[in-house]
Symmetry: C2
Amino acid sequence: MSRWEPNARGRLEQAALDLYRERGFDQTTVTEIAERAGLTERTFFRYFTDKREVLFWGQERLRELYVRTIETAPESTAPIDTVVLALEAAVPVFHERRELARQRQAVIDANPGLQERELLKRAALAAAVTEALRKRGVADPVASLAADVGVIAFKTAFARWVNSPDEPDLSQLIREALDQLKAITRDDR
Amino acid sequence: MSRWEPNARGRLEQAALDLYRERGFDQTTVTEIAERAGLTERTFFRYFTDKREVLFWGQERLRELYVRTIETAPESTAPIDTVVLALEAAVPVFHERRELARQRQAVIDANPGLQERELLKRAALAAAVTEALRKRGVADPVASLAADVGVIAFKTAFARWVNSPDEPDLSQLIREALDQLKAITRDDR
DNA sequence: CAGGTGATGTCAGTTCCTGTTATCACTATA
DNA sequence: TATAGTGATAACAGGAACTGACATCACCTG
């Protein structure tokens, strides 16, 4: 038998999510999270830089997927379509864990501090996408604008997807959001 | 002579900005800020909810200006153009204090925690704009998408404006960013 | 089997932030 | 003009988030 139970990080993540849901983020202490995971406060801070980060650790995986998808997209693809390709490549990640996504989002929506962190993570993803586009030779203002537009489309689609009673296709919603966005920016008054 | 020096809030703002610039945000303690302003740590927290907020207090003014401008815009104006009207109405606010904006932005750019707060404030502005559009009868996904597009255009323009050696017109830059954004979302591959 | 390694625990300390109560100049009113 | 507010501030105590330093101890490696 090993000295330590395996998967300390996972246990901490689970304990944190559970507690945040049970009594709210502010009313949960890091010591409590660690205790429930059978660990120490100090150990929590070895795995996560702060109390919020525990809900956002998965974003790293997403970033890699986005960047890889953009790198391998056909050369001729337009910037905005490259971004959409990346967003769609990540859709299964969400479909696989819809319930988890729902719970997590409910916690975030209930706390401004967590919303801040979510926005920062989103911005980091946009920056990674921008950088990946630049490497494909997309010029500078275009690259970041395309990334930002993609983020908006995803955000809009995700907000609808995560709380619908039925289970719509996230890709579909992304495309719809993008179409509406295109309609808005068109000069037809 | 009055018991207290006037403009406690302003003194705290100034002291905070100075110290954040001198030694960085993390290396500055709230007690130090208060001392420099001739006040107490406790008093700092009466004026500002937290250590970051001191840099963002002005946003409230901006929000009001945006909302008012949208409320008084001609009925026939398209959503995206209504948003641009609001953004342009606020341009003088920035032109008036370019140096302050520059210093403030440099501090924010050097600290992730401050970037989080900036993103949250930006999201709050977008939400206010969305709400103002809804009150004009703009349907739901369109209102928030138009607000978000406006925010992106402004962000892009501001980033260029705040650090250019010459003094370009912010309105001009906003329109340019929006034009590029329109080009990106157009279906011409 | 000695010594290194890595995950964890222990402990002490700083800073952010909050609640509570006390001052005290100024103001309104009797 | 005495008195009772009122509002901005100070003083103090305390909780919780985080950090640094060092100890422990199962496991691995030669």
